[in-house]
Symmetry: C2
Subunit: 322 residues, 2 copies
């Protein structure tokens, strides 16, 4: 059976894994990125990590069929070039695909990290049922990462800027988002913005709350107090779910996917969050036709990125593109 290496390139750590073509994870590891030392060092670290993880899986790297790389930043997919990555100095216009292929002797494919994570859930996670061919994923973290897969293909967009669901504008002239827009989905529903909305509400309001004042709250604290019945925390969580439900409607109207997958730390709230998202979706949805989309939690956790990177290589190999 063919095997693939997935590399999830982060600003802090490089995660690697070996998967078989079904997406089964045979080995995984993590090593510091050493981003500050520049792109040449980082590429050496990635190549060594690829060799090491192959060995850990009991394979010589020459027996690995291909390597998938999930990288931050906008990417020129046709050329395999990282156009820009704010957290990785020296990677502007770096031909990372070919650098890794040259350093390992194996064919490589370069993908955006959020797309790779979505592809991981599609290939081996929440949407692994082969009857599911179209999904959208939203990862609720510091920002709201996003990946869209239609008919089994990652939607890159004409300039590599598609699949950025976190930056749909839901509230014209609304809250300022880190991307420079106002009213983005991210500015209401990321873990960071959910926490920030709670911090602001606690500071601004005369309303009583069990949440502490004069501190930067976390989304975990907000969910914990909401589950314990604090009215202010509950309102913040309900608003997050409301915007996520509306985001699901917009994804359905434009893309009509079979499944919308939510990932990121906030999904640990489980049914407490998903029941609210589903309720908001049903409350706001149109009446002209019934939506059959499934709204589901991701199942691969932090492994989605490295499994997905490997799966992108497996998919490219299967389609004769590797």
């Amino acid at each position: 059976m063919p095997h693939y290496i997935g590399i999830d390139l982060g600003g802090t750590n490089i995660k690697t894994g070996v998967i078989d073509e079904t997406g089964k994870l045979l080995a995984k590891a993590s090593t510091p990125t050493r981003a500050a030392e520049g792109s040449k060092v980082v590429v050496d670290v990635m190549a060594k990590a690829a060799h090491d993880i192959a060995q850990q899986a009991g394979l010589d790297i020459s027996k690995v069929n291909g390597i998938g790389i999930g990288s931050p930043g906008p990417i020129d997919f046709a050329k395999g070039i990282v156009l820009d990555t704010p957290n990785l100095p020296g990677f502007r216009n770096a031909p990372l695909r070919d650098m890794i292929a040259d350093a390992t002797g194996r064919p490589a494919v370069l993908e955006n990290d959020a797309n790779a994570a979505a592809f991981g859930e599609f290939w081996a996670g929440a949407a692994k049922d082969t009857a599911i061919q179209s999904i959208a994923m939203l990862t609720l973290g510091t920002g709201v990462g996003s990946g869209i897969i239609i008919d089994g293909e990652i939607l890159h967009g004409s300039a590599g800027l598609g699949g950025e669901g976190g930056h749909m504008i839901l509230v014209p002239n609304g809250r300022l988002c880190g991307c420079g827009q106002r009213g983005c989905l991210e500015a209401y529903t990321s873990a960071s913005h959910t926490a920030r909305r709670a911090t602001e509400a606690v500071a601004d309001t005369g309303q009583k709350s069990s949440l502490p004042r004069n501190t930067d709250l976390t989304s975990e604290m907000v969910f914990e107090h909401a589950e314990q019945g604090d009215a202010l925390a509950l309102r913040i969580v309900n608003e997050t779910a409301e915007y996520l439900g509306i985001a699901c409607i917009n994804l359905c109207r434009l893309l009509d996917p079979q499944m919308i997958v939510f990932a990121g730390g906030m999904i640990h709230a489980g049914d407490f969050l998903f029941d609210k998202i589903n309720a908001a979706f049903r409350k706001h949805a149109w009446t002209v036709a019934e939506d059959h989309v499934a709204i589901a939690p991701a199942s691969l956790g932090n492994d989605a990125g490295l499994i997905g990177a490997g799966a992108v290589a497996a998919d490219a190999d299967r389609k004769g593109r590797l």
Copy 2:
């Protein structure tokens, strides 16, 4: 050169045309739908219209390579079935593709009418440059029709409900849309809703306006008075453009198309409208990457639907799917 018939099935009229494979329109005609007489009569009218238009183009119908049908309502694309059409009694679950193929002896393909119109602009209209392979189209009429084409393929969605950009929610709990949702793009920017917002503003406000009171305004009147400098009419037009600019941002974030095409009667306002849409798009867009999308008026006018229906047949033929 191969030839194709396009049939644009409307509640009032059936429009037909003959195109060559480049999308050049060789003949066109229109005939009453006779919708009230039921689906069997309508199919007979369509088949006769197909024969007649072939003859008008100097072709025997047996020499026509295929027939494309643009039909209202949700469609089962795999089976060629019209699932429901509120304006055409008797068409619920009608196997229209095969009915037309049987009645004409030519292979047929069934498409949603808004998608067909978008495909017409893609194949032979505003986006006919073959370097353009991904577009979104919004038609500003009674509603806001929409079609999305990615990498040369119409985006149908998993249940045939994709590409409904008019029903993106832009304003949570906003204006009621005919689809049952609140705050849809359509509820702010269709020609009808633009006129209605003006009618409401004239009635509700103490503000002076050159627009007549106590009458149902049209979007033409609103644009005319706005161009003449009436402040209220100008505010309504600016709001319409503002929401359309934000809609373009959302289309870019999710789909990153090369071109967004606007169609429908309101585009006759020309640069007066398009300058405002472009300004709103630029004002609200993110700063993390530059958008290269072109925002352009449709060029086929009322022929987009029948040319597009024919082009859908030509495309299916070219791809071996007819």
